[in-house]
């Protein structure tokens, strides 16, 4: 019974905190993008436009819920919910501070990667169920991209797992707290693996330069073409939460999570996550989109071999030179 209470309380807390941060993140992205283009950004709704996300969501909720006549209705309804669930669910195993963690799984890393990959299923479901060529093409591109980028992402995530000797995220963070963060030392598998993981994260959450599943100039809006109102909001939410949670995972695996001087652990975890979150948007508003074939070529010809080498380096380090760690 207490376990149930524990889960329910953490569930409510995590979901509400995630949604709140996502709302602020939306505002932040629009402001940040505006500053990069020397604009002002949202400024009329609330102080400094802070209430803009609320206005956006209220607008989206008021929209008519349109379902295409030939759509596969159950799948069409399921896909956005599944996408949002998969994105938020990852937050369950994130150690927000030494004591605050909803579910300290032994195989937390595996759970994160599996749930992250499941988002692709939701996206493809949406593409298939919409009965729309653009949505289907977007879904197919999404699968091609996810299959490719899952490989370097998993291999890059294996580097801290091998170095720390555990698949539990809280163990990995604790190891870093006892020693040093993996992005800094050992520098050879650590830093490249961090960059690789960040790159794969961009691809996983369909951000520029890897947003070909929803390339506006080619596919209208990709899988979300036929979605309106609340369902579209859920996709939108899933995308932001995915980015946010992915940043949190990256900061836990490579930047030491809650480990930091002076301030409490929760502050460090949030600060590191937000820095990565901002970096995602920095990249998003600076670069152009890859072509599909360029994307796959880069992945299979460069990133996959590189990540295999990094895993090899980590294993060699742990087995032959444990003193370096």
């Amino acid at each position: 019974m207490s376990a149930l209470w524990h889960g329910a309380l953490y569930g409510v807390a995590i979901v509400s905190v995630m949604l709140a941060i996502t709302a602020v993140g939306l505002w932040f992205e629009r402001k940040f993008a505006a500053r990069m283009q020397t604009r002002v950004g949202p400024s009329l709704v609330g102080p400094a436009g802070l209430l803009q996300p609320i206005a956006d969501v209220v607008k989206l909720l008021q929209k008519e819920d349109i379902v295409p006549a030939q759509a596969d209705r159950p799948l069409f309804d399921l896909a956005p919910v599944l996408a949002a669930l998969c994105a938020i669910g990852v937050a369950a195993v994130l150690p927000l501070s030494p004591d605050v963690i909803a579910a300290d799984l032994d195989v937390g890393l595996l759970y994160v990667l599996a749930l992250g990959a499941l988002t692709t299923i939701a996206i493809f479901l949406a593409g298939w169920a919409s009965n729309n060529k653009f949505a289907l093409l977007g879904g197919m591109r999404s699968i091609a991209q996810a299959i490719s980028y899952e490989v370097p992402m998993v291999l890059a995530a294996m580097v801290p797992a091998i170095l720390a000797g555990s698949l539990s995220i809280s163990d990995i963070v604790r190891w870093q707290a006892d020693h040093h963060m993996f992005a800094l030392w050992p520098i050879v598998p650590g830093l490249p693996a961090f960059l690789l993981f960040f790159l794969a994260l961009l691809a996983e959450s369909n951000r520029i330069p890897f947003d070909i599943p929803e390339a506006e100039s080619e596919l209208v809006a990709g899988v979300t073409t036929e979605y309106t109102g609340m369902k579209f909001t859920l996709f939108y939410l899933a995308e932001y939460v995915h980015t946010l949670v992915g940043s949190a995972v990256a900061s836990a695996l490579f930047l030491g999570g809650w480990d930091g001087p002076v301030a409490p652990g929760l502050h460090w975890m949030v600060a590191k996550t937000l820095v990565l979150f901002a970096a995602v948007y920095w990249v998003r508003w600076s670069l152009l989109r890859f072509r599909s074939d360029q994307l796959l070529a880069m992945c299979w010809r460069w990133l996959v071999p590189l990540s295999v080498l990094l895993v090899l380096a980590a294993a060699v380090l742990v087995q032959l030179f444990p003193g370096v760690l």
Binding site: R39, W282, L287
Partner: protein
């Protein structure tokens, strides 16, 4: 490698921009200085004796490229001010919903009766509000500040340069009258 360098340059550019002041002019609160010949609407004018300047000659109706001016001529009658016989317009309708703001009607007006106005800041909520009836046009005379141009000034710019004895000074004489300094935007 080249692509990586370009990507880093793009990232540097956007990062630099973050710390630059915004170039945005926050429009309703802050209005940029508008040129003297900024023009948005129309007005019909009265002369100094309070008589309508428009003589209903249909010149503007005929030249209008989008044919948005419709004039009903009134029969000629004696002016109350001068006592001479002259024409009047009984009705004058200008539909700005199709107007291209070319100012040709202002240019051809022989009596400088029609001018364009500078007042910009009132978008309308109904299409009917875009149709300027005679009452609205005469109300605009007082309600909205006029633009620089009127018929005489525009025709003056079109005139051939006056023949001078010394051909060298031709260029100077040909220069059109300088436009007035840019007026401050209204309010």
């Amino acid at each position: 490698m080249r692509h990586l360098r370009d990507a880093l340059r793009a990232l540097a550019t956007t990062l630099r921009n973050v710390f630059r002041p915004a170039v945005t002019v926050r429009f309703p609160a802050e209005i940029r200085q508008r040129p003297a010949r900024y023009r948005t609407s129309f007005a019909l004018l009265h002369d100094e004796h309070g008589e309508e300047l428009c003589i209903g000659c249909l010149q503007c109706e005929r030249i209008c490229p989008s044919q948005v001016i419709a004039i009903t001529q009134a029969p000629k009658r004696e002016s109350k001010v001068t006592g001479k016989k002259r024409g009047y317009a009984e009705d004058f309708v200008l539909d700005t919903s199709a107007c291209i703001f070319c100012e040709l009607c202002v240019q051809v007006c022989p009596t400088d009766a029609i001018v364009m106005t500078r007042e910009p800041d009132a978008p309308t909520f109904a299409r009917e509000d875009l149709v300027l009836t005679m009452e609205r046009l005469y109300a605009n005379e007082k309600a909205k500040p006029p633009s620089w141009a009127n018929g005489t000034r525009l025709m003056g710019m079109q005139e051939a340069p006056k023949e001078e004895k010394k051909p060298k000074e031709k260029a100077k004489a040909a220069a059109p009258a300088p436009e007035p300094a840019v007026q401050e935007a209204a309010k």
